[in-house]
């Protein structure tokens, strides 16, 4: 059975067909959750925030331009929801949930290689979770949501000069935490 394009689901939702939004949630819940998980570093809170973001997406659907792809838009909504949550909470991160940090593409034929990839991903997630929230935000928006500096400046309500500074400092801290500091900074 051919699935409906996102655009049709958006239009049906706008006409009051709530079930159509359910299909959009089914398609994007994992990527929305991953935005939240990278930003807050804690699974339970990330799942709660993903839920909040998907509800917010429904409420703001009138503002969505249906000629553009739905995925980047809802991920940006999720990033905003998480950034608001991060601004409200204590400046340090909660520990990363390692025991259930189970990547989706873990079906490597070589178990040792799969383990190595999993370890590398966990190290990177931990390093991300240890960054200050505003550094985590610029990494998320630049590297995972592919926003330009100007878009990041608008999304975070910060001057362009702050975005540039945050970004290179965030990368430097990330590299330092991953043990490549000598190479990444001058």
């Amino acid at each position: 059975m051919e699935s409906s394009p996102d655009r049709d689901l958006v239009e049906r939702t706008r006409r009051g067909e709530v079930e159509a939004y359910g299909e959009l949630v089914r398609r994007y819940q994992t990527s929305v959750f991953n935005v939240c998980y990278r930003l807050v570093g804690e699974r339970q809170e990330a799942e709660d925030l993903a839920q909040d973001a998907l509800v917010r997406g429904f409420q703001r659907l009138e503002t969505f331009d249906a000629d553009r792809p739905f995925g980047p838009w809802i991920r940006k909504v999720a990033a905003n929801v998480c950034l608001n949550a991060l601004q409200r909470r204590a400046p340090w991160s909660l520990p990363l949930d390692e025991e259930r940090d189970d990547p989706i593409d873990a079906d490597q034929p070589d178990p040792a290689e799969a383990q190595e990839r999993r370890d590398r991903a966990t190290r990177l997630r931990r390093a991300l979770a240890e960054l200050p929230p505003h550094y985590r935000a610029v990494i998320e928006l630049r590297h995972f949501q592919d926003l330009s500096y100007e878009e990041m400046s608008r999304a975070l309500a910060l001057p362009l000069s702050d975005i540039k500074t945050h970004l290179f400092r965030a990368r430097r801290q990330l590299a330092r935490r991953l043990g490549t500091a000598d190479h990444a900074s001058g």
């Binding site: 359910g22 998980y37 409200r88 909470r89 259930r100 989706i104 590297h143 290179f168 590299a175």
Partner: protein
């Protein structure tokens, strides 16, 4: 002289102007240290892009749709608001004689002298209309009274008790709605 961090990062993100970009490329050709720093940044970017997605442990479709449906169902809220308004009006009707005297005392202290004639006109209008409003509210009260009597007929509960409990529940509901809906829980 090496490329500074800001320039190197903007080079990586292709943010430099054409002239600055050419200068950075020329420098990178002759500087092994800056090439190494750039390679580390490129590795970091590649690692971030290769970071696998993590599974959700629960399906969010049903909870999200439940919340969406709840929020797009204003009828219940309207009925609740009407009931809460009725409970509030009944309460005011009951305590009005005392409240009227107290309000007159407070108003005498608060209303500036220039506004006294205007305030007197306003209060006079309330006074002249109040008997009619009170009569309307009492019609509603007696209807509620009859309904409650029919509910409690034959049971051990007295109707004033039921009325009190019901009014308390409505007032608590109104307070709860006001607090919980307007000030969502902050996260720790």
């Amino acid at each position: 002289m090496h490329l500074d961090d800001a320039t190197l990062n903007e080079f990586l993100d292709r943010r430099l102007t054409r002239g600055s970009d050419r200068q950075a490329r020329d420098h990178l050709k002759s500087c092994a240290a800056c090439r190494t720093r750039l390679a580390a940044l490129e590795d970091l970017t590649a690692s971030l892009q290769a970071l696998p997605e993590v599974r959700l442990t629960r399906d969010l479709v049903h909870p999200v749709l439940a919340r969406v449906r709840r929020r797009s169902a204003p009828r219940l809220l309207t009925w609740m608001t009407a009931l809460e308004a009725l409970a509030g009006a009944s309460l005011i009707a009951t305590i009005w004689p005392r409240l009227e005297a107290d309000l007159a005392t407070v108003a005498a202290l608060l209303v500036p002298p220039t506004l006294v004639p205007w305030a007197e006109t306003l209060v006079g209008s309330w006074d002249s209309n109040w008997p009619q409003w009170l009569a309307d509210i009492r019609v509603l009260q007696s209807a509620a009274d009859m309904w409650l009597r029919s509910l409690t007929a034959g049971s051990a509960m007295s109707w004033p008790f039921v009325l009190t409990v019901g009014a308390a529940a409505l007032v608590l509901g109104a307070l709860g709605n006001g607090v919980l809906l307007r000030f969502p829980a902050r996260r720790a």
